[in-house]
């Protein structure tokens, strides 16, 4: 009791303090801000910027793949010397495009843009904290990301082009500047940029974990956390454990590139000349890289799954099916993600016995993933579904997660992988299960929490048009790639037209490219909707989706500190939707059991005796 009283007084003291400093300057409010909500918006806007660039790059190489005969002369004003005198795309620049598309999408959009935005925005709001544990570290996290973005962006304009060794930058190709143009200055900048990015991720991740563990409001136990927070929590732990490993890998690569060491290099001839490097092993890099690289794909997808859990339960007006199973499967996926990395390396000549170990471990991931998919579907089952754009995107995510996840079972087999490795089948697999799914999760999150972010509503109709065009478009892009992959076409190849035999999928590739262009174009509907609604959208009601979580108890435009007055206490889990006997079809987490005798279950009736109701108003 005494602790709570002190707590309230402190809160009141804080509010006085808060009012005195209400007018912040432009710089401290919008640029070097320590407010988690503004930092989240900074991550979001930067992420959107990168998504446009990353998507744009993919359109350029899709033109090459779909229409190899087409003259790209009209791109010369933009790409300059990268268009050859014959009006074709430069072959080495094609590799750079593929590399940068991957890097930008995986790290800058779906890691920083997704985790950075929603972890920052939702963690304090949904657990009842005034801000992150360290606002300064949070600010630093964004500005490290910004610096990393600047370096990566500048590398696009180098004379030798940006990095071109694939987003995984395997040595020896990436370690030898003389190998291709894309391994020259562009690769150095790639490594510098990634080092800054890792620093940003670690600063952010440490903050997220600390905040979730230490700054939850009264009553917010781990068993009452929304699944979004659980997902962000496990994501941050994965990042904390895996990004340092990428740093090690990058560090050794930097020394190999710039100082002449031989960690990854051995017995290499370039243009008939032997290099002095002896004793290194390029496979070593792959082990280090994929020890990050595999958890990284879960760093990308888990936040999206968390967001989806929340949105599906809210809009199906039903409790999430299997709350504890959902937490268990998030934890299970998190754990398994660290013991499967070698399934990316089945064809590196590894011991076949080791291959079968990693095959089994990989296939086990199907269990928690299937639990999640099953729980989404059973949550939707017989719900009073409200088809908001956020809900549509969440359902779209579940669809991609299933259809993309199924092909993972093929690829996880070390034997089948001999045939499928590095083909378009892999491209189709991860673009559906990780790329499109988490992209949809991100869009769903934006549509759902836009009213809280900007105090206004996005246009519903435009959102639905955006959804259907994206959903159909993405399947049209990636479904045909499965066939191309099974037929054995390798990824990252500039052209398949040199031999008549290999032109059989020319038409299909053209279809894929047209679909990609239409899907990309559809994103501009979203962009218009987003930026227009920030300024001109309808003002949002306090709780537009009738949701239970506590971010909707803040004012329409929450200030720095989120709640006016004391932080609300939490009395129940976040999924009391359509509870039998209740007046409304939702009971927010802040409503005590003692105020809802009509809908309490037996064990909840017991809890009413222990509830501490100081500072709680009865609302009817």
């Amino acid at each position: 009791m005494s602790v709570t009283d002190i707590h309230l007084q402190e809160d009141l003291a804080h509010d006085d303090h808060h009012d005195e400093h209400h007018e912040q300057g432009f710089v401290s409010k919008y640029i070097f801000t320590t407010d988690h909500k503004m930092i989240a918006k900074q991550f979001l806007i930067t992420g959107i910027f990168w998504a446009i660039i990353g998507g744009g790059l993919s359109i350029i190489f899709r033109l090459q793949l779909g229409f190899p005969e087409m003259s790209l002369e009209w791109l010369r004003p933009m790409l300059g010397q990268w268009i050859t005198p014959e009006g074709k795309l430069d072959a080495e620049f094609y590799l750079a495009l593929v590399t940068m598309h991957g890097t930008i999408m995986v790290f800058f959009v779906l890691t920083a843009g997704l985790s950075g935005t929603f972890s920052n925005f939702l963690i304090p709001l949904q657990i009842g904290a005034r801000d992150m544990a360290s606002g300064f570290m949070n600010m630093l996290s964004y500005w490290f990301f910004f610096a990393s973005s600047v370096v990566m962006f500048i590398s696009l304009f180098l004379e030798t082009g940006p990095a071109g060794g694939g987003w995984t930058v395997y040595p020896p190709l990436s370690a030898l500047p003389q190998a291709i143009k894309g391994s020259a200055a562009g690769m150095t900048m790639w490594l510098v940029s990634m080092a800054l990015f890792i620093a940003s991720s670690l600063l952010g991740g440490i903050n997220y974990i600390t905040t979730i563990i230490n700054l939850r409001t009264h009553g917010m136990s781990f068993s009452r956390l929304p699944l979004t927070i659980w997902a962000f929590f496990v994501t941050a732990i994965l990042g904390l454990l895996s990004f340092p490993v990428l740093l090690s890998a990058a560090l050794l690569l930097i020394f190999d590139r710039s100082f002449g060491t031989s960690f990854y290099l051995s017995e290499i001839f370039i243009a008939g000349e032997a290099l002095p490097n002896v004793g290194g092993s390029p496979i070593l890099y792959q082990h280090l890289f994929w020890f990050l690289g595999h958890p990284e794909v879960y760093i990308v997808i888990l936040p999206a799954l968390g967001i989806t859990s929340e949105i599906i339960a809210t809009n199906a007006r039903k409790p999430i099916f299997g709350y504890k199973a959902m937490i268990g499967s998030i934890l299970g996926i998190g754990f398994l993600s660290f013991v499967v990395w070698a399934h990316h390396m089945f064809v590196t000549g590894m011991n076949p016995f080791l291959g079968s170990v990693f095959t089994i471990l990989t296939l086990i991931i199907a269990v928690p993933s299937a639990i999640k998919a099953f729980n989404y579907i059973t949550t939707l089952w017989k719900g009073n579904i409200v088809f908001t754009p956020a809900m549509l995107f969440s359902i779209g995510l579940v669809s991609f997660f299933i259809s993309g996840g199924l092909t993972g079972i093929f690829l996880g087999n070390s034997v089948l992988d001999i045939n499928l490795h590095d083909t378009y089948f892999v491209v189709a697999h991860f673009h559906l299960v990780m790329g499109s799914a988490s992209f949809f999760g991100m869009l769903a999150g934006v549509y759902h929490w836009f009213p809280k972010m900007f105090g206004r509503m996005m246009d519903d109709k435009l959102g639905k048009v955006h959804f259907w065009l994206s959903f159909i478009g993405i399947y049209l892009v990636f479904f045909p790639l499965h066939y191309i992959g099974i037929a054995g076409f390798p990824r990252r190849y500039y052209s398949f037209t040199s031999f008549e035999t290999f032109s059989i999928y020319g038409d299909l590739n053209a279809l894929v490219s047209i679909a990609a262009i239409l899907t990309f174009a559809a994103q501009f509907i979203f962009l218009f909707n987003f930026f227009y609604s920030i300024f001109r959208g309808k003002l949002a009601p306090a709780n537009p989706w009738k949701s239970n979580t506590m971010e909707w108890t803040t004012p329409r435009f929450p200030g720095h500190g989120n709640w006016v007055g004391a932080i609300p206490k939490i009395f129940r889990w976040p999924y009391d939707y359509s509870k039998p006997g209740a007046k409304d079809d939702f009971i927010p987490q802040t409503v005590p059991y003692s105020h809802t005798p009509e809908s309490n279950l037996e064990h909840e009736e017991e809890l009413t005796k222990e509830e501490d109701l100081t500072g709680v108003e009865k609302v009817n």
């Binding site: 974990i209 031989s262 004793g279």
Partner: protein, 191 residues
């Protein structure tokens, strides 16, 4: 510092958030060295490896860093007992020992070169430079932290009621001492 407390108007459970964040930071440092250690083992098992003559200086620097941990702990206990003078002495000695350690490591690199192990060459030698170099980089960060605490100590801001910084600095310091012992033993036993 356990139990509930107030930090920036938030009710805090179990541990001070900054100290908790410090531990998480240490986790990420551990991951860097674990990954490099396993890279070392994997690389060694592939073959094409050379035997390293370790510099004799490493034995002395090991003693120095253990001593610095003792003096750091002396400063920590003094802070708990509000003995302001001894805090400064303890921190001062620790800083000097740390600098002696770094100078020693640098000279040990010289000995490595004399023994024929250059940074550029067989990875067996390069790894030794990487391990010692990365450790010193972290130690340099710890020394900056130490000086911040030392300045606070001279402003009478380190005492039994204000221990967060001191505790974090001590944790980091002991961690880096332990890390060096681990690295040294790891390198010797895997030679």
């Amino acid at each position: 510092m356990t139990g509930e407390m107030e930090v920036k108007n938030n009710q805090v459970r179990s541990m001070h958030p900054q100290k908790f964040a410090m531990w998480l930071f240490l986790v990420s440092v551990v991951m860097i060295f674990i990954s490099l250690s396993s890279a070392y083992i994997v690389k060694k098992s592939v073959g094409n490896w050379v035997y390293i003559d370790f510099p004799s200086l490493f034995q002395y620097t090991t003693v120095v860093i253990v001593l610095s941990s003792i003096s750091m702990h002396f400063a920590y206990i003094s802070a708990k007992r509000n003995n302001i003078k001894n805090i400064r002495i303890g921190l001062g000695i620790t800083a000097m020992l740390a600098i002696a350690f770094i100078v020693g490591q640098f000279n040990a690199w010289g000995q490595l070169v004399e023994n024929g192990h250059h940074f550029v060459g067989n990875p067996a030698g390069s790894f030794v430079y990487i391990f010692t170099g990365l450790h010193v980089v972290h130690l340099a960060g710890a020394i900056i932290f130490l000086f911040i605490v030392l300045v606070k100590a001279f402003k009478y801001k380190v005492h039994s009621k204000s221990m967060v910084r001191m505790e974090m600095c001590t944790t980091f310091w002991h961690f880096l001492g332990g890390l060096w012992l681990y690295l040294y033993l790891f390198l010797i036993f895997n030679n």
